[in-house]
């Protein structure tokens, strides 16, 4: 398939390890990486700083808008770097977060703790050989909706909108929210039934387009399920 890449890789490795002299191999290995910390080959830091300064200049020039003329450009680019540094230093001293940062003020530690609280309930590494798939996350409505494939759900909503019928909504009976497992069972049954009906309708190649899809109400009531509106 890709013998050329293999030969190239063998050639590069041989260059690295025994064909080139040791100093040249060192240069080949170390000299092709962007070094923004100023360690061993430390000539690149100033260049990278200049790239960042150029980015600031471009940002300033873009924000000038229709006022781009030569005197304004000279004026603003001369002042841009100093103003930027003063602003950054001010924000750092006051304790404000930098809004141009990538994380945009989100606290990373709290995120990790939030994920950790879910994972401690889920226990992903505890082997459960007795019953495969008995573990589950803390059950929420979002989890249930995510479990249904999004494509099928969107398709169901679109077909309902196209036929100008009501989108089925689920209302929980009294006391169902206290016992979460019963609620999940009811929702599972309702959603699965809806998907089955729509797949059957799709398989019939839309022979009966005028028939209103109102059969689901009766079936649900017979099963002792939810009233559907």
């Amino acid at each position: 398939m890709s013998t050329t890449y293999r030969f190239e890789g063998i050639k590069l490795l041989s260059d690295l390890f025994f064909r080139l002299p040791r100093e040249t191999a060192y240069v080949v290995r170390w000299n092709r990486w962007a070094n923004d910390l100023g360690l061993k080959d430390s000539n690149k830091a100033l260049d990278l700083k200049m790239e960042q300064v150029n980015k600031i200049f471009q940002m300033v020039l873009r924000r000038l808008g229709p006022n781009i003329k030569q005197p304004t450009i000279l004026k603003y680019t001369g002042a841009a770097l100093g103003l930027h540094e003063i602003r950054e230093q001010f924000r750092e001293d006051v304790g404000l977060l930098n809004l141009h940062r990538r994380d945009k003020g989100q606290d990373r530690h709290s995120d990790v703790l939030k994920v950790l609280s879910e994972l401690l309930q889920f226990r992903p590494f505890a082997a459960d050989d007795s019953k495969a798939g008995s573990k589950k996350f803390k059950v929420t409505i979002n989890l249930l909706l995510s479990a249904v494939k999004r494509d099928t759900l969107n398709k169901a909503i679109k077909t309902n909108q196209a036929k100008q019928t009501r989108i089925t909504t689920f209302l929980a009976p009294e006391g169902a929210l206290d016992d979460v497992d019963s609620l999940t069972d009811i929702l599972e049954g309702a959603i699965l039934q809806e998907i089955d009906e729509q797949e059957e309708e799709e398989e019939e190649d839309n022979d009966d387009d005028d028939e209103p899809p109102a059969q689901s109400d009766e079936e649900d009531e017979d099963d002792g399920g939810l009233p559907m509106f």
């Binding site: 490795l13 170390w30 992903p124 082997a127 699965l192």
Partner: protein, 181 residues
Amino acid sequence: MVHWKKGMNGIGSLQNLAAVLNASNLPADSKKDVNRVEDFLQTVTEAYILTAFLELLEMDSFDAIPAIGDSSDLSGWVLGVLDRFLDTYVDFKFEESQSLPTPLIVKSHRHSPPSPPGFLDADPTKTPTDPVVHHARQTLSFGLFLMVVKKWTRKADGDLTVPIWKSLTGYFHAGGQTKYR
């Protein structure tokens, strides 16, 4: 990315976790927005590492204190814990992930083809039978690998190039990409 594809939303998968956490800014496929998925994977990896250590040291919560046998040999204890962590939780098999149990029995067998066989034959003694545990180990090891790659690109560590590219070939093979093999 290996662990973020369109159909992978079973129990214990990353998309399931994202749905629980209301992380709604993540795309369905990782090719659409790699950076957000990468950030999410980074936080999840740290949480996975913490959970693994908490289970290893038999701690109930994050504020608990682990039980140390001999307080004289602390460095040996730490090294032993790290060895146990690597033995039990880190698993570089480059396998295509097993099919996770779906929370609802949606007819998934129609749409999804069967998963291809793994890159290496799995040992029945070491690999767990539970696919959730297997997937958790794979995500943890993949996240650790991504952390090493980030360190490699950030600190310009030239000594890590050859081992990282060796392990990347395994991931390319598992992902079905035959270009750089």
